[in-house]
């Protein structure tokens, strides 16, 4: 297949050229170990050169990229396992293995890591659920009903999503300060306040994505349910929501990751250390020059990243679809 060939002139081609020279040199010297190892499964006589030209060099590129992608990850895991860890002590990878650092970050009374973790899960979780709910309601209306201002509404949503909330962080802070004066329970320094602010972005970011997916569900399903006597609410909650479950999962996960990562608004609204999220708490912890326990921070980072990474890998098929929705069909 011609498209599988390396492309002369491109990076791939150049790399291939260099590799070819190396391989020729290697063949002259002979590398019986490699040839023997690879020759076993091949049905026709194996030639290293042909294998390398076809796919071998791709593995070489792959290994370099994987090394680049994973070495920070290896470093942070290694230093989290280092029992007594300053930054310098973490440089010898896997020289010591122990879980002391995990115990330190989880129990240090100065660093309320578990509280931050719980705060993050609560804030990001509630935001994700409500974002999905609000977005799905709006997407249903846009997809299934025709009303005045519908096109305007859709355009507004597409335009608004270009302006992330953090651009207005000064105004958000002042609005929340004003709200605190009247209703301290939902103002500054409260989780509800932060969730409310995040929900402001619920329609902007995700509705259009959902709208596209809702449109792929045939309207005849609605009509059939209608004929059977279902009202609009029942159609929405019991039929449509189940059919669009994949997009709901994607939007929930994207929203969850966004909230976990969000620093600007969270740092401004959550003032007390016990109320903060992981992003705010850990950043302030590391930027404190007196805090030198790098191993404990690494342990915290591993604990914090693990659920998100697992969730991401588990749902990666859907996420990749969601990311490129609308552009790549």
């Amino acid at each position: 297949m011609s498209n599988q060939q390396p492309i002369p002139g491109s990076d791939a081609g150049l790399l291939e050229g260099e590799l070819r020279e190396q391989r020729d040199a290697a063949r002259v010297g002979g590398d019986p170990r490699l040839e023997r190892a690879a020759a076993v499964p091949a049905k026709r006589p194996f030639r290293f050169g042909r294998w390398f030209k076809a796919t071998g060099w791709r593995h070489l590129v792959g290994l370099v990229v994987v090394a680049f992608a994973l070495f920070p990850v290896v470093f942070v895991i290694s230093s989290s396992l280092n029992p007594n860890g300053t930054l310098t002590g973490s440089n010898a990878l896997f020289s010591q293995i122990g879980f002391d650092a995990y115990a330190r970050i989880l129990t240090n009374p100065q660093v309320p890591f578990t509280t931050w973790f719980a705060n993050t899960l609560i804030i990001a979780g509630v935001t994700a659920i409500l974002t999905v709910f609000l977005g799905a309601l709006a997407a249903y209306a846009f997809s299934r009903m025709r009303f005045t201002g519908r096109r305007f509404g859709l355009i507004t949503i597409v335009v608004v999503q270009m302006f992330p909330q953090m651009l207005a962080v000064v105004a958000i802070f002042l609005v929340m300060t004003a709200i605190s004066d009247w209703f301290p329970a939902i103002g500054l320094n409260t989780h509800i306040g932060l969730i409310m602010v995040y929900l402001g972005g619920a329609l902007g970011v995700n509705t259009y994505l959902m709208y596209g997916y809702f449109n792929t569900i045939p309207a005849s399903i609605d009509e059939a349910a209608k004929i059977d006597g279902a009202g609009h609410a029942r159609i929405f909650f019991t039929i449509i929501l189940r059919l669009v479950a994949p997009i709901l999962a994607v939007v929930a996960l994207l929203s969850f990751i966004f909230s976990v990562n969000e620093y600007v608004v969270a740092s401004v609204i959550l003032i007390d250390t016990e109320n903060q999220t992981l992003a705010v708490g850990l950043t302030k912890l590391v930027s404190n020059p007196r805090y030198a326990d790098w191993a404990a921070f690494s342990a915290g980072a591993v604990i914090a990243a693990l659920p998100v990474v697992l969730l991401f890998l588990y749902l990666q098929k859907y996420i990749v679809g969601g990311l490129s929705a609308g552009a790549v069909k």
């Binding site: 076809a54 355009i155 609005v175």
Partner: protein
């Protein structure tokens, strides 16, 4: 209710439903809605209304009539929407729209307003608040003040003083509320010690809250020049007057000790003739002052120029580097014959799956000049100033952002490549095109058509990529010549954040003015994006 949904689904078909159809639909709808769903609806609306009533009471007490009117209006609208049989789309749109309007649209507009004010440290409130806090800050005990017997009382966390004057009359006041005569519920030896609605603080409470109590200054009357009652020990109070005198008619503040007259010259603070201001001042609109200051003040204009240039450079280079690496990898791994592609793919997605703030913090540790992994291990003990040299810090930011961003581009390019049919290859090879020609002239253009909108979106995202900058370098190294906390790797959004929320002086007005600059850039990018992709025209 259901009438509309029938119309909706059949949108475009010209025949409107007949009366009979409508009636049938309504009956079906009524039959389907069980008693339970009606109860849920009533319950939810009841909760919303109860909260609204509470909010209205609180706002009425604080005399915030404008906000109150908005709350009343929105509540009425919500009730109408959900009880009406019409307005079906609104039932689905309202919850999201309320949040969208308040925390997305309103705050953007409000940012625009703040940019035209002097809001910030020292200019936080109204003129009345400034006057009373100035007077309170300069209180001094009147030398021949009579002794007032006081009892410290508490109401829901607010401290008040129950004052018995030398003639035996009792009155009550707080910091906010001047002394008002009250009828004490308990008098002990001529001293009022309790009053209804307030809790009298016991001796141990007084000790515990000493700091709060000694700060307490209860205005004597509604004229701030009359002074206030303060108590140094929680049992006897004295009259304190300010050594500033406020002349409301003339709008001037006079320092009684030096005789200097400070007047309101329209700058948002009382200003003496020689230009000295006494702070706190108050909030006023200053027109284009913030913008003029940002551009003409040489100490501010320099940072603004290099921060803006770097923001563009950072966003462009980030998109370019991540895209080309991602495209290269997509081409390399887009070969069916290659084994184990799945494992490479998972390994490459990991950087994208880790929350970016954590990655940036870890990279910051690894790039530490004296102790970091990169200098100590990879470069064998070199001391490369990854984060402390202005140019190296820029390079580091780009490298880390490449690490964070290439998996996304890889995923997108892979998807785009796989969506190009294989016929293209056959057709072009029959026509005698080389693989490179096929890629350059057929596949790349096809790929760019589908990827271009995402590249523009990626540019817009990186333009405001706060986390990488703030967690990795904190915008540093710091530019010491600038009067605001700004550094050589700061992008516009991180500069806004630092001007508004870090440093000694918070300057919301200037920060909002910088935000406006970002708005304009983002708006221009959006217009280009929408023109290019025609996505707005496609909406129907």
């Amino acid at each position: 209710m259901s009438t509309t949904i029938d119309e909706d689904v059949a949108a475009g078909s010209a025949t409107p439903p007949t009366k009979r159809q409508k009636r049938a639909a309504r009956i079906a709808d009524a039959a389907s809605g069980g008693i339970r769903s009606i109860l849920v609806k009533l319950l939810l609306l009841g909760i919303v209304d109860a909260i609204a009533v509470y909010a209205i009471l609180v706002l009425a007490l604080s005399q915030e009539w404008l906000v109150l009117a908005v709350v009343v209006g929105v509540t009425a609208l919500v009730n109408w929407i959900y009880f009406s049989r019409r307005a079906l789309p609104a039932k689905y749109l309202t919850p999201g729209v309320i949040f969208l309007v308040l925390f997305q649209v309103f705050v953007l507009v409000y940012t625009g307003y703040i940019a035209f004010t002097n809001y910030g440290t020292g200019h936080n409130g109204s003129k009345e608040q400034a006057v009373s806090s100035l007077m309170a800050a300069s209180l001094e005990r009147v030398p021949d003040s009579p002794t007032y017997q006081v009892t410290v009382v508490d109401q829901l966390g607010t401290l008040g003083l129950l004052v018995t004057d030398p003639s035996g009359e009792a009155s009550l006041g707080t910091t906010e509320q001047q002394l008002q005569p009250v009828d004490p519920s308990e008098v002990d030896g001529g001293k009022a010690v309790a009053v209804d609605g307030w809790t009298t603080l016991q001796f141990s409470d007084v000790i515990a809250r000493t700091n709060e109590i000694t700060e307490l200054a209860v205005p004597f009357s509604d004229d701030p020049n009359d002074g206030a009652i303060r108590t140094p020990d929680g049992s006897s109070g004295y009259l304190y007057t300010s050594n500033l005198e406020y002349d409301e008619a003339a709008g001037t503040m006079t320092d009684l000790t030096t005789g200097t007259v400070y007047s309101d010259t329209g700058t948002g603070a009382f200003t003496a003739e020689d230009g000295t201001e006494i702070l706190p001042g108050w909030q006023i609109t200053v027109g284009f002052d913030n913008f003029v200051r940002a551009v003409t003040d040489t100490r501010l204009a320099g940072p603004l120029v290099y921060v803006t240039l770097w923001t563009f450079a950072f966003a462009l280079i980030s998109v370019a580097t991540t895209f080309f690496l991602g495209l290269f990898l997509a081409i390399v791994f887009n070969d069916m014959r290659m084994k184990g592609r799945r494992y490479y793919r998972v390994a490459m997605i990991i950087p994208y799956a880790i929350p970016s703030f954590l990655s940036a913090l870890v990279w910051a540790g690894m790039m530490n000049e004296s102790f970091g992994f990169i200098n100590q291990v990879i470069f064998g003990g070199a001391s490369i100033p990854w984060l402390t040299d202005p140019w190296m810090a820029k390079l580091s930011v780009i490298i880390v952002n490449l690490w964070l961003g290439f998996p996304y581009m890889f995923l997108i390019c892979t998807g785009a490549l796989q969506s190009i049919p294989d016929d293209v290859n056959e057709a072009s090879s029959i026509d005698g095109a080389s693989p490179w020609q096929t890629f350059r002239h057929i596949k790349l253009p096809l790929l760019l058509v589908s990827v271009a909108p995402l590249l523009i979106a990626s540019f817009a995202f990186n333009f405001n990529n706060f986390n990488v900058i703030y967690m990795l370098t904190n915008g540093g190294p710091r530019d010491t010549s600038a009067p605001i906390p700004v550094g050589f790797t700061d992008i516009l959004i991180s500069m806004v954040y630092k001007v508004a929320f870090t440093g000694q002086n918070r300057d919301y007005g200037l920060a909002a003015a910088y935000s406006i600059i970002i708005f304009i850039v983002v708006a221009v990018i959006s217009i280009i994006a929408f023109r290019r992709t025609k996505s707005l025209e496609e909406i129907n």
